[in-house]
Symmetry: C2
């Protein structure tokens, strides 16, 4: 490479140089601009100890060729200033670091028909354990399908388990979905999700910080998690063991002032233990269904999760007067109308009239002038 | 009854007159004293429309004989001023009403060897659905056993399902337990719990507002629930459908400024839906085990639930330097030492030395000068 690159190419080159989420590099680029940082580093002025053999490596790079090759694979590179750049990513520049990762990405590699900026306008990430249970994947899929059907983009990491269920749920809900990878977006990791990633690209977009061809490492997963959190209004954790990477994503969401949500499960299930810990420490809000999620990520008052209602009970349709008489009937024995009148605090004549109505409604039965609850009916669990 | 009764007998008589938890009667007794209210009512001066045929009924009562008969059944009556009276019950006089129930009880009928005031000093109620799942009863039993083993009294309502599991768990934890009934404490409701109630009385105490012989009604269950909440520092709801009576107890606990706690379950399980609603609306704190409960009902800083720890992983014992190299190894492919050195930002010689240590530790393997993660090891879910 002989002539100095423009901003875009400088970002591609700098991206090749360090690891994604290196907060020092991000800060330098933010302060000086990518072109200036590139020029300084190529002159071997190591501004912040970013690397030791930087100059030689930078001189060996050809970012313009990288961009052309990527275009040949149907992959584009976006960076700040592009219309498709999600402004929300700059929140990463103002957040603390986590696991020594941080800062907005220098740029993003994209594969797919979706426009990332539009997809991220209303988006929720759904993440969780790779070793999920069938309970976890079924709930994740349902939540994703429900929010996707409401036009909210589902962001996840395309991993086994919860991630896969979330993407599939979104696709099933005919909604948009975004996969954020810890490797080049031309690669399929895990390989078994090659077709899934193709489906995602067909309607949404596959995103990554790493140049095409790059392989995933543990460090890159940690950096990737900050992107999942940053690209969404909120993060839903479905199942996460105590040390799960999904909790790393939740921590990022929290650092970025996003809404952190958790779906509970049995307290006896290890894959739910990490979620329960988030909920117990109030680091996350409990959600049980898509509408709970929509309520939490919508502007206040804009979306209210419909209240859970038990099926209306027949007794709800009784007058308050008759309910009061019914409430006075012993649950397991019989009583005289006089006794019921005392218990209900209502005159005996009115009680007898009420009891007759209640009998024809099938609420009480009578024999030998004593009244009892209809044996076919249960006050089940309303005591 | 000819001579005017003392305070205790007046309370017994007034208790026979109205329904438990009648806030008007409680307020009158609080303001005027039981003897004065008794005297007024017997003179047919109906102070607050408490009843219409009061005077006649009061004249027909013999509270002294009630007390003697109860004593013959091993049942005692306690009221404010008695050493055994739990001072905490007066909180009910300052709380709002719920379902038109409220106010401190006029007195309590007790059966059992335990001293109620002492049992209530450190006490937690564990309540929930009568139609509980095996998950719910098993968790309720475990939580009750754990708090009981720590010397905290378990209060519940002796109903089927969660209540039963809570009492049994406490007995299994060799801890004290208190059953609060919606009927006379000489009765067994449900009848199937006759032996359970006897066990409870043998070590703890069975409590009720209603005179011996009285039958349970729905109204009395609602009044009883306020007692369960008032007698405890906090209420744990284990499983509760959307209309469960356990939610009524939780509401009482909340009105009384007690700690309200909920054990989550699968979001697909109807008996957990009411608990999730409490947790979602922040009306309750999530707990998963006895130690969480102990933390919440202990004075701040006195008891800390031990943190959940995943088993320490071997990689935790690596130096930070070696962990950094390990984090740079691709998760699904192989890389040269030079490439790993760039990714880790560490010199190649130091990387090779680290890789050799990691190989003997079984973390990585090598062939043809390329390094990969040891195939027998999984980075499972820590990405």
């Amino acid at each position: 490479m002989t002539r100095p690159p423009g901003d875009r190419a400088a970002r591609v080159a700098l991206g090749r140089l360090g690891e994604p989420g290196d907060p020092r590099l991000a800060a330098l680029v933010r302060e000086l601009g990518a072109e200036a940082v590139f020029a300084y580093l190529r002159e071997e002025r190591d501004l912040a100890g970013v690397a030791t053999d930087v100059a030689a490596r930078l001189r060996g790079l050809d970012p313009e060729r990288d961009l052309q090759r990527a275009a040949g694979l149907g992959i584009r590179f976006i960076c700040p200033g592009d219309a498709e750049w999600p402004v929300r990513l700059s929140d990463l520049d103002h957040a603390e670091t986590l696991n020594r990762r941080g800062g907005a990405p220098l740029g993003l590699w994209l594969r797919g028909v979706g426009r990332l900026d539009e997809l991220c306008e209303r988006s929720v990430s759904v993440v969780g354990s790779r070793s999920a249970t069938t309970y976890g994947t079924s709930v994740a899929g349902q939540v994703a399908a429900d929010v996707a059907a409401a036009g909210v983009t589902v962001v996840s990491g395309a991993a086994f388990g919860i991630d896969q269920a979330a993407h599939r749920g979104a696709l099933a809900g005919r909604g948009p979905t975004v996969a954020v990878l810890a490797c080049g977006v031309d690669r399929a990791y895990p390989f078994a999700h090659r077709d899934l990633l193709t489906y995602i690209a067909d309607t949404g977009v596959v995103v990554g910080e790493l140049a095409p061809g790059c392989a995933p490492t543990r460090l890159r997963f940690l950096a990737r998690n900050r992107m999942i959190a940053a690209l969404s209004l909120g993060t839903v954790v479905v199942e996460a063991a105590v040390r799960s990477g999904a909790l790393n994503t939740a921590n990022w969401a929290s650092l970025l002032n996003r809404t952190v949500m958790g779906v509970p499960g049995p307290v006896t299930s290890a894959p739910s233990a990490g979620v329960h810990e988030l909920l117990r420490t109030k680091a996350a809000s409990l959600v049980t269904r898509g509408s709970d999620v929509l309520e939490l990520v919508s502007p206040p008052g804009r979306y209210l999760s419909p209240p859970l209602r038990a099926a209306e009970e027949q007794r709800d349709r009784l007058s308050e007067h008759d309910q009061r008489v019914l409430d006075a009937v012993p649950v397991a024995s019989a009583a005289s109308a006089a006794s019921l009148a005392r218990t209900a605090g209502i005159g005996e004549r009115a009680v007898v009239e009420a009891l007759q109505r209640l009998r024809s409604g099938g609420f009480v039965e009578t024999s030998a002038d004593l009244w009892r609850l209809d044996s076919r009916r249960h006050a089940e669990d309303q005591q």
